[in-house]
Symmetry: C2
Subunit: 227 residues, 2 copies
């Protein structure tokens, strides 16, 4: 098994069957020893967080599979913190896709002159940012993605449609646990031109509230997995 | 005649016929006494620049009228530095619409990891930014403009189509004078739901090159007006 990439929170291996294996690590992004999913640098290690993120991801990927949404997910071995996935290429040098159900965070920092923090965004709003730490992960429009040859207009439309659908499925699952999804971050890739959800769906990728208070990622994992 | 707004570079008056009069001033945006159309604060006064910007605007508005593109322009009195225009509401608290034919400036600061400075963007790329000095005039997508009720999807499509067409007309005129348009900034408004170009089309709103070197706004005005 050949390691093809060493990431901040996951290592990537090539499998003999043509698929890819992701190994979830206990390294987290954060700063000064405090876990912060929004940070770009690895700031600390939390025992067992790799497995917890994998379990959370498997929970959602299985729900998506049942709902007929194809993703890169094939199978998982939670004990070894590994997930087998379809091979996929990332768009450009990597793209983050955010779906917002409630306006908050960086959206308010940008557009607070026009909308109150906490306003619902009915149906959800999809935004893309480039993975580019040095430039503060800049927002990018559909037209710019197409002009920069990052993706085709049809690929963008597929990505947006899937993002809205997947977000609704995740939000519904969280709602059944008394949790309210504010926003969620995804990564998409393409496999033979087909756009599919890749990476993970873990607590660090979403902003969730319970009874009007934000739920920290470690607590959120426990709520999601009903532990 | 009632003054309804005092802007950085123009004052706005209500006319008895229901139209609006813009008075072009000699105040320019800039910093430390240096003219910089990208600056938000008024930094200096240049004798005659109000009239020069009006003449330049009239030059382009007349070309657009001849090409069948409706704008807010009605007529002008260059000696008095005034322009009569249709009344129009701005989108949100004001929106800047940029059309890029060549990737440079803030586009490269955002997306330089994916594209070289100076790369042509065939057909042109339209971007919108909010007029919000305190937040650095943030980029905003079509979907966010619709979600924030700044405009409808149909209004955005009209704005984008008009921007591409107007930019091509301006670029063609500049090309006939040996000048190359890199990018240009517009402001649109709506008059009875119809989206129309408003404000001015002056040298400070565009980035233009001649023989591979950028042309400063004052020189550009002279080139455009063939003075």
């Amino acid at each position: 098994m050949k390691k093809t990439y060493e990431g901040k929170t996951k290592d990537v291996f090539e499998l003999d069957n043509g698929n890819v294996m992701l190994k979830f690590k206990d390294d987290c992004t954060g700063k000064d020893g405090v876990f912060d999913p929004g940070e770009n640098a690895v700031g600390l290690t939390i025992d067992g967080i790799g497995k917890a993120n994998l379990e959370t991801s498997v929970h959602f990927f299985e729900i998506l599979k049942d709902a007929g949404v194809k993703t890169h997910y094939v199978s998982a071995d939670v004990d070894n913190a590994t997930m087998e996935v379809l091979p996929a290429k990332v768009f450009g040098k990597g793209l983050e896709v955010i779906c917002r159900l409630v306006a908050t965070g960086s959206f308010i920092r940008r557009y607070g002159s026009l909308i109150e923090d906490g306003t619902e965004l009915p149906g959800g709003l999809v935004e893309c940012t480039l993975k580019d730490d040095d430039n503060g992960d800049p927002l990018i429009t559909k037209d710019a993605l197409v002009a920069l040859n990052v993706m085709s207009a049809a690929q963008y439309d597929s990505l947006k449609e899937q993002t809205l659908k997947i977000t609704q499925i995740v939000a519904d699952d969280l709602k059944s646990k008394g949790l309210k999804l504010y926003d969620i971050k995804f990564e998409f890739g393409y496999n033979n031109d087909e756009v599919i959800l890749i990476d993970e769906i873990a607590s660090g990728n979403m902003r969730v509230y319970k009874d009007g208070k934000i739920v920290e990622p470690v607590d959120l994992t426990n709520f999601i997995l009903e532990k």
